[in-house]
Symmetry: C2
Amino acid sequence: MRAALSERSGRRRRSDVPEATVARLPVYLRALHVLADGGSSTVSSEALAAAAGVGSAKLRKDLSYLGSYGTRGVGYDVAELVLHVSAALGLGRRWPVVLVGVGNLGHALAGYGGFDERGFCVVGLFDVDPARVGERVGEQVVRHLDELDDVVHSARASIGVITTPASAAQDVCDRLVAAGITSVLNFAPALLQVPAGVDVRKVDLSNELQILSFHEHRKAARALTGVPA
Amino acid sequence: MRAALSERSGRRRRSDVPEATVARLPVYLRALHVLADGGSSTVSSEALAAAAGVGSAKLRKDLSYLGSYGTRGVGYDVAELVLHVSAALGLGRRWPVVLVGVGNLGHALAGYGGFDERGFCVVGLFDVDPARVGERVGEQVVRHLDELDDVVHSARASIGVITTPASAAQDVCDRLVAAGITSVLNFAPALLQVPAGVDVRKVDLSNELQILSFHEHRKAARALTGVPA
DNA sequence: TTTTGTGAAATGATTCACAGCC
DNA sequence: GGCTGTGAATCATTTCACAAAA
């Protein structure tokens, strides 16, 4: 028996897009920008799908969750589709982002130019190491983590990036959430515990390498077992 | 009409693990190491699942693809399971890795300690910028990209990491593949074209942020539309 | 009694294939 | 004639729920 949600419908609502589709929208958006820069004004699902590295049927179905923005017999208007995909991704505004942990990786990410071009801007860099506090990185000066609340509130930031060692990640995450952050991008190799309503995505270098090594291993085994192709 | 593969069976073979499961094995492995370091010698699927952030049924089914390594009524032997999961991931050996593009991000990754602890070792750093060639980073000296073939062959590397700008990524990828690399981890925001038999995984900061902004946007919309919980 | 391992059911994602529109 | 949008079919993944083992 479940608490009565306002309709336990199996039907998909107009505004909820499958997770798998959401994860591909940024890819489509980037492909669209490339096409626009290349001078295309319209594009077929076939061509856009090729540029994005997916099948055309998948692309069309993905876009259909956002609305019906193509023209049969013609294709999609590139500029128009950029707007619709951007809107779906919430890129009508610029999102302020705070980053905690200004070590090697934090430095690299803070210096990454793509931030501003893609709808985000770094409004605060934080660390606990006194040797790093005060250092200038890009447009920002590294602040002590104690100033997190002030910055998150005054910049109205809701997205935080964690680039600390694993041992500090949960504590930092708790402080981010306490300050009002509701989306976290975690580069630390640690599982983060967060309250409901907070989204976490994780990026982990060694996980990715281990997934590749699984496949390498399998390929090597195949070669030995004598599978020709 | 398809070329006759040696049996077009719908049945899953003993040694092929679903992709979704493969992607979780590194997570389980890390959780197991944490448990081992904490002194646990056995663990139940419930406890390991909690440590890994998944449901216990999913964990058990995932592990069941590797074999039957638990004891009913007891759980899994931590040390033994570490060995089995490591073996499945192909971590019985150390994988040599080459990295191309020693900018901000390349520097950061090259300096990342976790490499060696997790079954990998960097055997070559490459760049085309003469200003960077010769620079010492960690244990390695940055080489010119022209030396790629030599190093890949002599170190028998099969995994390559790309941390160049997007504009160089495809060319670098082609050179990696030509040198014999068959697994690529791509940090450049570009779609890579590779021949069959080569695996590519992509990590993209702005994609991740845009996925988060999608959800932030939706949360904000929900709040306005007056959804209480 | 406790906990695994796993068929079977349920859910989610992808692909097919074509009606409908330009 | 060409291409989108989308039901229906297929395929993949997750969850359920319980028999079997220790």
